[in-house]
């Protein structure tokens, strides 16, 4: 098994240290990691879900707009960051894996290392109605 790029490893270490939810994906959109804070919003531990392709995580949480319309994966900020290699931001609704509906704001940033290689992306998100 190959080792992740150093900037991805360090991103996980950062995510592990944060109390805000963080999601990390590789350049193809495969979910590599989400931190314990994200587990609370998503409703399941990363150890239980494990890595997931974008087609799975992009739809598993039923992301939808204010009118309740399902958002396709390409409309999600993390997927937008993967395709444009630029930061992206959006507020939308998801259902956690336990079925709880939550309005979240997501900011995604590209992870580009010292050799200018695109290694993936990190999304920081939060429950907009949390105290």
């Amino acid at each position: 098994m190959s080792v992740h790029a150093l900037e991805i490893i360090l991103s996980r270490q950062l995510a592990d240290s944060l109390s805000v939810p963080v999601f990390i994906v590789d350049p193809e959109g495969n979910l590599l990691f989400y931190n314990p804070a994200a587990e609370k919003v998503l409703g399941r531990k990363f150890e239980d879900t494990g890595p997931m392709p974008v087609g799975d995580w992009g739809t598993s949480f039923y992301p939808r707009d204010e009118e309740g319309n399902l958002l396709p994966p390409e409309a999600l900020p993390l997927v937008e960051t993967l395709s444009r290699k630029q930061p992206a931001h959006k507020t939308f609704w998801i259902d956690s894996l336990t079925g709880k509906s939550t309005k979240i704001s997501v900011t995604a940033i590209p992870i580009i290392g010292r050799s200018h290689e695109f290694s993936g992306a990190m999304a920081i998100f939060w429950d907009t109605e949390a105290p």
């Binding site: 098994m1 190959s2 080792v3 992740h4 790029a5 150093l6 490893i9 360090l10 996980r12 270490q13 592990d16 240290s17 290392g113 010292r114 050799s115 200018h116 290689e117």
Partner: protein
């Protein structure tokens, strides 16, 4: 057969104290040879112990720098081949994505810190930047380099020669602020460089207790170094980059205490300046 000689084992700054001469006071430099072919890893003050007159009949000298912290480049300023006209010196070091390696080296090797600007050094100097996951072949040596976890752009090296494999990660904090590595190998910095190596030379600057107060400084505890070796399935561990604030007696005491609480199945020892290994 690949021979590995430790010319400098001390971290941070050189120490001339009599109490540090057992494990050595020179900062990192490791020389690798196979017959007449040689490469050098890091240019700490240990490089002053390399016998360039006798052991380097060929015009070319190759020096691989893990990073540019002073303890790893300080010996460059007084490295004989650099001041020998016609000598071909190749310096290999980490790309940082912003400033060329030559410009970064020039900050040190130029006035007022050093009297001679890099451009005036009489050797035929060639500077090569290595980015993540680089691989090159120099004579009998296959060198793989990749970024590892340490402040600033820092490389670890894997050197293969014949059937022998050396892994060199002298400044490395494979996990920051945790007492153990992540359980999945793909999340462990540098583990691919050390996989199944015959000899792993790894940072072990701190005791477990000291590390609790030094998380993020870029160095490992004895415990993390040994766990890293175990996970990489390297066959022998040399504990390197001794803290210059530690006397030989303190280092020995730390190591014995560590050994009394662990049960790894590979041999490990404290790096000692002048020690040579054959792989």
């Amino acid at each position: 057969m690949m021979k590995v000689r430790l010319h400098g084992t001390r971290g941070s700054y050189p120490s001339s104290s009599p109490e540090t001469q057992g494990y050595g006071g020179n900062t990192p430099c490791v020389e690798i040879s196979h017959g007449p072919d040689r490469i050098i890893l890091d240019a700490g003050t240990g490089i002053l112990g390399v016998d360039f007159d006798t052991d380097y009949p060929a015009a070319r000298v190759d020096i691989f720098l893990t990073h540019l912290h002073m303890d790893h480049v300080q010996g460059l300023a007084f490295c004989k081949p650099l001041f020998t006209p016609g000598r071909e010196v190749h310096l290999w070091g980490p790309e940082d994505g912003a400033e060329p390696l030559q410009a970064r080296l020039n900050r040190f090797l130029s006035p007022p810190l050093f009297p001679i600007p890099l451009r005036d050094i009489p050797a035929r100097l060639q500077i090569h930047e290595l980015s993540g996951a680089s691989e090159l072949v120099l004579g009998p040596f296959r060198v793989t380099a990749d970024y590892i976890s340490h402040p600033g752009p820092t490389l670890g090296f894997r050197v293969e020669c014949g059937s022998g494999v050396l892994a060199y990660l002298p400044d490395h904090e494979p996990v920051i602020g945790r007492s153990h590595l992540y359980p999945e190998d793909e999340w462990v910095s540098g583990i691919h460089l050390a996989r199944n190596a015959d000899l792993l030379i790894h940072d072990s600057q701190y005791s477990k207790k000291e590390y609790r107060h030094k998380a993020g400084w870029g160095h490992s505890s004895l415990n993390l170094a040994a766990e890293f070796c175990h996970r990489a399935r390297a066959r022998r561990l040399v504990l390197f980059h001794h803290d210059p604030a530690h006397s030989d007696a303190e280092i020995t005491r730390m190591f014995k205490k560590f050994l009394s609480k662990t049960a790894y199945d590979f041999p490990m020892e404290l790096a000692r300046q002048g020690q040579e290994y054959t792989l």
